[in-house]
Structures are given as structure tokens and as C-alpha cells.
Amino acid sequence: MAVVSPSETANKSRSDLIAYATLSLMSIFCAVPFFWVLLASFDGNAQLFLHWPQQWTFANYVKVFTKEDGAKWLFNSLFVVGSATLLVMVLAGLGGYALSRTRAWWKLPFLYAILLIRVLPPTALVVPLYKFLLTLNNAEAAVLRPIFGSYARDIMRWTGFIDGYLGLILVLATMQLPLALWIMKTFFDGLPRDYEEAALMDGATLIQRIRRVLIPLALPGLAAAGLFAFMSAWGDFLLPLIFLSSPELQTLPLGLFRAFLRINEIDYGLLTALAFIYLLPAVVAFGFARRFLVQTFSGGVKG
């Protein structure tokens, strides 16, 4: 508080007022688009444009799960993104630790590679990735079909690379891996080695050290990495678009997108209800991730 003269006090309040005004305008700009999704989803007669509902109803939400395949889409999204997030947390948790503690020659190249991978636009990778996964898929089918016959198709739904859960989960996880590895590496860098060294002196093996010492300490970092991976994978639209085709596997963004493309009358109430359902987990995750935001990004600034 560096206030002295009366005129300076006045200046300070004026600056504060400007800050209030600016932030309010900014907040309005940021919040307004959300209103439509919120209001129209409870609107019995929802329109494309924003208007105050005449009749409030839950019918849209019910319709999402009954008339449309909302339940299926929700399950698929949760399953795929959840699995990918778990996979990322495990790989990045261990990998970040290894990356932090190793002093090998390949450490720096690996780190540079991670940073460079992060800048590659996914759309540029999708085509060759598709061809590659197609090859893998055909190979898998060639192996499974002789053994399982007609059941092979059902199995491939789960283990297939194209139009199969496994492929999408692996690719989604891989896309989140660079950032997650970086977060965990930076996190472990900041963790003093004292704990591990004490455990080492007590005679603990690597696995014991990881289980009893590292994991409890690493939880905040894992939470941050997991939340960011989740939010990013949850919003991913391109990968499901390319790699899924059968209706049983469709995820929320695809369902939402296709619902918007109906040629005949678009049910905006249904659409916004679906959008809200899709929006909710992301916002909830964001709420938890908030306190990690500054640390992660300033860690990113410092390296």
C-alpha cells in the first residue's frame, strides 16, 4: 500500500474503477455465449437465438437419453477419454520421474523432442496415422478371424485400431503424453531427492520407493497432469471423427456435431441439452484444475 497524498488516493480509486469496468466487460464477453446453452436446454421451445424460455422443462435432457443415443455417446466418451487419461497418468507419472532423475545422454534430446512434438498440428498427422492404423487393424483382423470367426468383429470393437476402442484410446493418450510428461518431469524436478535417498538408505528397492514414497508425494502433479489430459482429450473432435465410424462407438462431440447437421428441423433444445452434458465434465475438471493452472504455465515459461 503505497498511498500518501489525497490526490494519489483519488488516482488509485480511479484506477481500481477502471479495473472493475474492464474486467466486467471482459467477463460479460466471456460469459454471454454460455447463456444460450444454459437457457435453451431447459426451454420447451428452444430456438437458435438466445431468448428467455416461455416454458421451463427437463424434457430435452430426457430426450437426449431416450430419443437419441445420448447414453451411448456419454458412455463412449467417458470410457475412451477416462481410459486414455488413466493411461497417460500412469505413463507420465513414471516416465516423468525417470526423466527427472536420469542423467543419461539421451535426456536432453528426449526433452527437445517432446517440446517439438507438442508443436505438430494433429491434422497434419492424421492421414498417415490413419493408414498406419488401418494396416495394424487389418493385421489384427487377419490374426483374429481364423480363431474367433464371426466373433472377431465384436472383439475388434474393443481391440481394433480403426473403429475400435483400443486404437482411439492409444492415440488420444499419445497426444496428451508430451504435455503430461513435461508437467511430471518439472514436478519431480522440484521435489527434493531427500525422500528417495532416505528410502534408499533404508534399503528400499525402486518399486518400493515408487510405491511408498513417490506416489503419495506425486499426487498433486498427477492430479494436474491428469486434469489437463482429460480436458484436452475430452474436447478432441478430430481424432474420433477420423477413427470412428460405427454408430455404437460414437462419442459426444461427434453426436453433437451430427445432431447439428440434420437437414430437417433441428431440435435446439435437444442440441443444447446435449451440449450442456458434454460441457459439464470439462467445466468440472477445469474447476479442479484451476489451482494448477498458474504453476503449470509458469513452469512452462521457465522450462
Binding site: S15, L91, A92, W234, D236, L256, L271, A285, F297
Partner: protein, 295 residues
């Protein structure tokens, strides 16, 4: 360097732990990137004569690229998109927010939560929310706001498509800018501003001669990061305009998608992809060098 057997064993353990991640990254990122380059030299396609017997065609795709007006258009559109939203829009609004939030006012958490919210919305939802804002005919929210101020409205997404996607991307990206710039601002010790006060600096002098110069590294880093991630934007623009009308918003990622999955020209699409990869890598290398990675 690891010397004794204990250390060597530890190093082998680290490598082993990282192996799965390495395999995934190699298989699903590095290999496709390299394969892209190979593809770009072929005439692969999903339909037509070439689908059955793809041939190596050398630089033909790149020559075609060079002469393709739509390709240059997508580069131009992407360039304007990046400059408009990342370099100018998000940066300015993010900076203003970051500075305003440093003042000791109430409701800071509420304000910052709301400003960060657009970033939490998935791309597709964000796109649709803005379609409601922009394309509802006479009742579109933006139209109503603008008419309130006496300005003649228009069919926004049709008449000003590029400006609109820039605005939407700004809306979505203020969060990143604000967070990075806030982190940068907080590295400047408060005592420096007190010393400047004793030296007689006005707030604007403090900003111009102390804050801005000291923030330069952060700002540079921010520019590189946001440029790279803006080049990669796909879903948001696709949901809003699908790249139209008439290619007015066909950013390079949409152009690649259209060429590969709509026109099924995999070889040609790969060539465009390679160009995008190279541009991103150049920015990425600048970013890595500016980052001064700590081992």
C-alpha cells in the same frame, strides 16, 4: 555419467520405465510425421486410378501445391487468423486482464474464473455457442447487441467470416494469454516498482520502461506457443464455418482435412501437411531455443 554398477542399473531402470511412452510417441507421432513426408511424394488417393496402384511421383505434389491458389489462400487465411487472434487479440485482452487482476479489488477469483471459462469449453460446443450468437438471423445475439448501438447488422458468418472466427478464437484463448502473462508479471519484484516510485515514475512510465522490457521473454514465449497452437486449430473453425464460405476461413488444417478426406487426395494432402509440419517445426525450434530447457 553413470560409473558404478549401481548407477548403471538405475539408468537402465529409467530407460525401461520410459520405453512404453517412447514406443507410443514413435508409433503414433514420429512415424506418421515421417510417413507424411513419404506420402507427399506419392500419388496416393482413396478413389480413382491411383488408389489401386499408388506410384512414387517425386515433387509433382509440391509443384501442384505451388500453383494452387487454394493452398496459398489457406496459408494466407491461417496467417491472418494467427496474427489476428493470437498475436493481437488474445495477447492484448490477456494482458489487460492480467494487469487489471493485479489490483487489490474484490471478486478477483470470480472475474478470473469467468475469463478462464471459455478455454474449458470443448471446441465443438464453443463453435455452436457462437453460431447461436452469430447466425440466428435477426435475432442473433450479436445482431441484437449491435442494433442497440445503432450499427447496421449483417449476416455475420457470411459477410465477415474471417473476422468472426478470429473473434471466436480470441474469446477462447484469452485464458492462455492471461495465465502466461500473469506468471510473467509476477516475476517482477514489487520492490522494483517501489524504487521506481521513489525515482518519480508515473504508472505509464513504469509500464513502458520497466514492465514491458522485463516481460519481453515471457511475451516472446507466449507468441510462439500461441502461434503454434492456433495453427493447429481445427474443430472450432470447422464447427463454425466448415472452412467457407468459399474458402474464406479455410485454415490450413481444414484444407488438409478437405483434401485428404473429402477429395481423398492423400498424397496431395500429405504434401500440404508436410508444409504445415515444417512451418510448425520452425516455430517450435525458435520456441525451444527461447525456452532454455533445464536438464
Amino acid at each position: 555419467m553413470a560409473r558404478n554398477s549401481h548407477e548403471k542399473r538405475a539408468e537402465r531402470q529409467w530407460l525401461l520405465i520410459l520405453l512404453p511412452s517412447l514406443v507410443l510417441l514413435l508409433a503414433f507421432v514420429i512415424y506418421p510425421a515421417v510417413y507424411s513426408i513419404y506420402l507427399s511424394f506419392t500419388n496416393e488417393a482413396l478413389t480413382g486410378a491411383a488408389a489401386l496402384r499408388p506410384r512414387f511421383v517425386g515433387f509433382r505434389n509440391y509443384v501442384r501445391l505451388f500453383n494452387d491458389a487454394k493452398f496459398w489462400n489457406s496459408l494466407f487465411v491461417t496467417f491472418v487468423f494467427v496474427i489476428g487472434s493470437a498475436v493481437i487479440g488474445q495477447f492484448l485482452l490477456g494482458l489487460i486482464s492480467a494487469i487489471a487482476l493485479r489490483r487489490p479489488i474484490r471478486f478477483r477469483r470470480v472475474f478470473s474464473s469467468i475469463i478462464l471459462l471459455p478455454n474449458a469449453a470443448p471446441e465443438v460446443v464453443a463453435g455452436f455457442m457462437w453460431i447461436s450468437m452469430l447466425a440466428g438471423g435477426d435475432n442473433a445475439t450479436l445482431t441484437r447487441i449491435v442494433s442497440f448501438f445503432g450499427v447496421t447488422p449483417a449476416d455475420w458468418l457470411q459477410v465477415f467470416p474471417l473476422s468472426m472466427i478470429i473473434i471466436v478464437n480470441i474469446w477462447r484463448g484469452i485464458a492462455t494469454a492471461m495465465i502466461l502473462l500473469t506468471a510473467g508479471l509476477s516475476t517482477i519484484p514489487a520492490e522494483i516498482y517501489e524504487a521506481a516510485r521513489m525515482d518519480g515514475a508515473t504508472p505509464s512510465q513504469m509500464f513502458r520502461r520497466i514492465t514491458l522490457p522485463l516481460m519481453m521473454p515471457t511475451i516472446l514465449l507466449y507468441m510462439l506457443i500461441s502461434a503454434v497452437s492456433t495453427i493447429a486449430v481445427f474443430g472450432l473453425v470447422y464447427a463454425l464455418t466448415r472452412g467457407g464460405p468459399g474458402g474464406a476461413t479455410e485454415v490450413v488444417s481444414i484444407y488438409i482435412y478437405n483434401q485428404s478426406f473429402t477429395a481423398f487426395q492423400l498424397g496431395y494432402g500429405a504434401a500440404v501437411a508436410v508444409v504445415a509440419l515444417v512451418i510448425s517445426l520452425i516455430l517450435g525450434i525458435a520456441y525451444v531455443r527461447a525456452m532454455k530447457v533445464e536438464v
